[in-house]
Amino acid sequence: MPRHSSPHTVASFDQELKFLDEMLVRQFDLVYDMIHDSMTAVSHFDPQLAQEVIQRDSKVDDLDRAIEDSSIKILALRSPMADDLRWVIAIQKASSELERMGDFSKNISKRVGTLALHPLPEAAGGLRVMGIMVLEQLERMRQGWIEEKTELAMAVWAGDEAVDTLYDGMFRELLTHMMESPKNISSCIHLLFMAKNLERIGDHITNIAEDLYYRITGDKLTSDRPKADKTCLVSSQG
């Protein structure tokens, strides 16, 4: 149930809403750990840890399906209204975002084995910084969700610009490494895909921020979000 509301006349309805929210928080935690551990696996070129991360993705998918099933059941049987309705809709949407974030963590982990064959430590530093920033965003988002704070949703929403800036910088840096030596190309491409996955995770976190804002206020964050990914304009020809 929305935390600031009075109890529902039908207590079991509140329990169903609470259960739905608990599943989502569990999904937040699983995805956080997946991103964290995939970044550790990249930093230490640790394919075994990467494999563990890949296996954990099915748990995130299971939770997404369970949340979807429970949401449909609540919508069909309880006909929630006002903030209860927004609560269910927002949880369902946020769960889909987390499911995609799990997929991106899995994709990052899948590349660790290949990257370990030709590690490029000097180029992997930027990725670590991006990972830290994305994890900070996700933690802020989780806290905002639990405490139902629009300020935190807004902060996350605006904070993605910094992730985009880092991605933009990494793109240029990797391009430089590739131009320096064709031997770097394979590793750089893998690192570039990983960076792109992190950048997409950042986008999904901002989508959850929008879901939370809607859930609390009933309004949409409609103005254009600040974006700093300018990689579509970058060329090796200068």
Binding site: S6, T9, A82, D83, L85, R86, T217, D219
Partner: protein, 248 residues
Amino acid sequence: MDSRNVDVYYGNKQALSAVSLPIRQHRVTALIGPSGCGKSTYLKCLNRMNDTVVGCRVSGSITLDSEDIYGPSVDVVQLRARVGMVFQKPNPFPKSIFDNVAYGPRIHGMTNSHAQLNEVVESSLIKAGLWGEVKDRLQEPGTSLSGGQQQRLCIARAIAVNPEVVLMDEPCSALDPIATARVEELIDDLSQNYTIVIVTHSMQQAARVAHHTGFFHLGELVEFGPTEVIFTNPKEERTKGYVTGRFG
């Protein structure tokens, strides 16, 4: 139709206080709220049904086409032809289906010939979605119809006098879900030509049929707005508590 600062007293007891509510033309307006909140009292003010209640006093202004319906020159019988009413329990007259619908046009002298009367009865039954089911049995008693058909007969009877506004006081509470759905479909059709105000205990019904919804509580109009807003993002805590079922 419009109302401003409407107060209603039953003896010393105030049943409505300072209700101001616009009723938009050719739109469905739903009034919701817990029992005893004043929604039916308000509805009855709109065609002066409260005049018949001993000790009832109404103040404030209620206008129809900018004319005060409580003004001295208003003919209440004419007013009730312009503002028709459908009640909670279907209440057909103990007459034939035809005579039920023909009753209003006859007493108001709206038709000059039997053919014209036939036409009004037929078109009213068509508009009420009942013609196909009763056209071969128009002389049978209205009470021989099923509950849902009886309610649609009452709606046909109300619109036979060509009202501008149709008031409905929980029109589906005695009907099964299929009959309810047919009446709701009918409300939607009728709103093309009539202004409809419906009192309902079913929030889902208000959500399904109404363009605008007003929430009443303890004789006050707490919130009024587009139905979508009232049910997804109400501004007032009391409205939110009521529509979500978290009414403290």
